[in-house]
Symmetry: C2
Subunit: 220 residues, 2 copies
DNA sequence: ATAATTTTTTAGGTTAGTCTAAATTTTTAT
DNA sequence: ATAAAAATTTAGACTAACCTAAAAAATTAT
């Protein structure tokens, strides 16, 4: 049974939204920028194809088959992003739309060959982990910088990639994956922060921006 | 105005078939494996979009705009084929179907970056010339090995890539682009040939196979 | 120059994927 | 426990891209 590009994008969206429990029609409607009626139509088709379990008015969950497909697509998307940045010298804010197309390209063994060619990378340019050939996705235990409560040293491990202009702003601040952030002061009033990056001069950061940065706590 | 993947494939087919004069509905129908009625439908749409000039019962020709699009697609197809062979180690008989998908991927500057990454190759893995960034396609003056009338030395410059099993057969004979073929004898009865490749022991080749090999005559 | 054949177009239908507007169900507030 | 609001589904329409069968035009053969 062949699964269309559009069906594939629905599956990816359900995967992304299903953090806890089932995904609502409205959530999908917003995420895919489609009307709710279109979502309902498609959910019926995906259920027919056994990719999701769906009951009227109850939202939707991925089946095992659907989850496997989602992981394949995420693997493809992230590996192509690595290719675009590492080999074609794109910036991290330019690759998403292209990877969104490349992830749908089919070919025997294509993605595993690409993986090897890239040196079996573990993370994509935004710090997201790449499922391995067996589709195992290793989740990291990260915190949003904006939610952190005590000063200290943290490593930038992942950033929110939904908004290119957010990524461009991080570039302007010269914040990259792997950088060490020292959190000096926390303004409780509005959640804004005073930080320094890789020991350079300290800067101010709004809570909104800080919430798009995921960090790992360093011991010292 | 956006041009769909299917419209793009029609444009490529018209380009390939329009060697001399206009292309007939039947020719396109056979090339695309679609019914003639479907071709007629699409030709109207392509004419609306000014990609072709089309008059009922008169066949179709590419407009300047259509020709430019065709060359872009051919450039993309051939560069992706180079990528698959050179970087991902595919064999020349495995790349066509994947490139057929990759050629439709859109991205600002994507194909020129790929071109640079590959070292601005002049030919694809089958010996077909690649249009340059300005879309100039340099045609070579080649002959089909099966049509040659006198013995002599020839260089394999291009091969017919439509049939993967033909390419596999060439691999079995260890014939590659750039090889030197010495044509020893021509059997006029059935057009078959007696040749040797790169000075190794001579082999027999049918006229059918020889016609899939395009060669350049060497002076001596 | 007619008739037969081939090519091409038209007419009408199907499926995938979307939409708007209306109806229905579920959830929330009084 | 009702009523109001929100979420969801249904109904009906549209476009892209294909199909089959029939009609029309062009070409070829007698
Ligand atoms: Mn996609
Ligand atoms: Mn990413
Ligand atoms: Mn194609
Ligand atoms: Mn080729």
């Amino acid at each position: 049974m062949q699964i269309s590009k559009n069906e594939q994008d629905y599956i990816k969206s359900i995967f992304k939204l299903q953090a806890d429990g089932s995904v609502s029609t409205t959530a999908l409607s917003e995420h895919l920028h489609l009307k709710a009626a279109s979502i309902t139509d498609m959910l019926k088709k995906l259920a027919d194809k056994k990719l999701v379990s769906y009951k009227k008015y109850q939202g939707v969950t991925l089946s095992t088959k659907g989850e496997k497909l989602a992981l394949e697509l995420i693997r493809k998307h992230r590996l192509w992003e690595v290719f675009l940045v590492e080999k074609l010298n794109y910036k991290w804010d330019e690759v998403h739309a292209i990877a969104e197309q490349l992830e749908h390209v089919e070919g025997l063994d294509l993605i595993n060959r690409l993986d090897k060619f890239l040196g079996l990378p573990k993370f994509d340019p935004h710090g997201d982990p790449i499922p391995n050939e067996k589709l195992v996705l290793t989740k990291q235990n990260l915190s949003q910088l904006g939610k952190i409560t005590k000063p200290g040293k943290y490593q930038v491990s992942m950033v929110n990639q939904d908004n290119p202009s957010f990524l461009q702003y991080l570039t302007k601040l010269s914040i990259k994956i792997g950088d060490i952030i020292k959190l000096h002061e926390l303004i409780t009033f509005d959640g804004s922060l005073n930080i320094s990056i890789n020991n350079s001069t300290s800067i101010f950061m709004s809570n909104t921006v800080a919430n798009g940065i995921y960090v790992y706590k360093l011991n010292n």
